[in-house]
């Protein structure tokens, strides 16, 4: 089975295989707004490359660094904030 079709979007089951996260963790990340699906249809959320990269980051933080999901949430939001500030600085 090919995991990706020409659309470049992935369902939860394919996302789980690619990222190494459990489906519960992926759904938690979606529910808590840590990852915003690239697309949503009647079958549920779909992830694109950007979202997969973010979920891989979640895996590194949880599995490699041992941070719990609540901590990951804080880390990710901080990283987003840093990124936004860097962008802001670069514009000046």
């Amino acid at each position: 089975m090919r995991e990706q079709d020409q659309s470049g979007y992935y369902r939860i089951d394919a996302t789980v295989k690619i990222t190494g996260l459990s489906s519960e963790t992926v759904l938690y990340c979606v529910e808590e707004g840590l990852v915003r699906p690239a697309m949503t249809d009647s079958d549920g959320p779909l992830m694109g490359p950007v979202e997969l990269a973010r979920l891989r980051k979640v895996r590194r933080l949880t599995q490699d660094l041992g941070i719990n999901l609540e901590g990951v949430e804080v880390v990710l939001r901080l990283l987003d904030e840093i990124e936004a500030l860097r962008t802001q600085l670069a514009r000046r």
Binding site: S7, M39, D43, V74, L78, A84
Partner: protein
Amino acid sequence: MEHEDYYEILGVPRDAPEGEIRKAFRRLARKHHPDVNPGNQEAEDRFKRINEANEVLSDPEKRRKYDEFGPRWREHEEWQRAQEAAGTPGQPFDWSRFGGAQGPGGTHYEYRTVREEDLQDLFGDEEPFSDLFTNLFGSRGERGGARRATRPAAGRDVESPVEVTLQEAYAGATRLLEMQLPDGQTRRLEVRIPPGVDEGSRVRVAGQGSPGKAGGPPGDLYLVVSVLPDPRYERRGDDLHTRVTASLQTLLLGGEVQVPTPDGRRLALAIPAGTQDGRVFRLRRQGMPRAGRPEQRGDLFAEVHARLPERLSPRERELLEEFALAGTED
């Protein structure tokens, strides 16, 4: 204000253990915190109700009273305190002293909602609606309104309807959107609609929503898809149904017809000899694609109908009459 059951607010059963209540509160508080929903009054109100429910249900004594007396538990508590102060404990509770209601479920009693220390426990800082991270990474050294006014806040998400033809839904498409910026300028943006979108699909375009405040990140743009009907095809879920015509000879003697697909291809369909008018053939995996589900592509159903000649040559007529006379059927 109409009383909303605390258990319902937190989405927990009435016999939920303390841990479950705490977990539900933390989850909901994070979701509805005003910092996460800047400018959203509804989220702020919800956040207050969540705090109120947690304040009662996380305290075993208050929870017991709430379970017993319902929304007027606090009035009962005050009554008890008054009885004790008057030196006459144990008197039956007189509901009529409180707003004239005749018991639990009567007139509702309003009381304070957000307790500052609860919020500090959860989000830190002296200001109730503080930044989520301040307690973890320290204060920013500013206080009061000025600090709040300059805090970066994410922009709001924006929805925009987008119509696609069936052909575009089948093969994917790009759309050039023109967006009016607050400064009056127009920005053009090319967005990709993936193959397999259906009615109501939402495609997110990151960072193209309302701009953030004070350097906060912008919101996202959501394209809400509407698929226009196509007279050549009827869509039933992931399957497509179409009609094709074949000559009488092809149906009688067998042959081949071309079945067009929405993306412009023409598929060869073998017609066996003796095919009846209106027979439906299935072309596997030629229907609508499903985003993220390549193995579940729909089928294309072709209903074949006879195309009768409008004029017959003398020779054709002669042969058909001969055919009719030799009739093997009926």
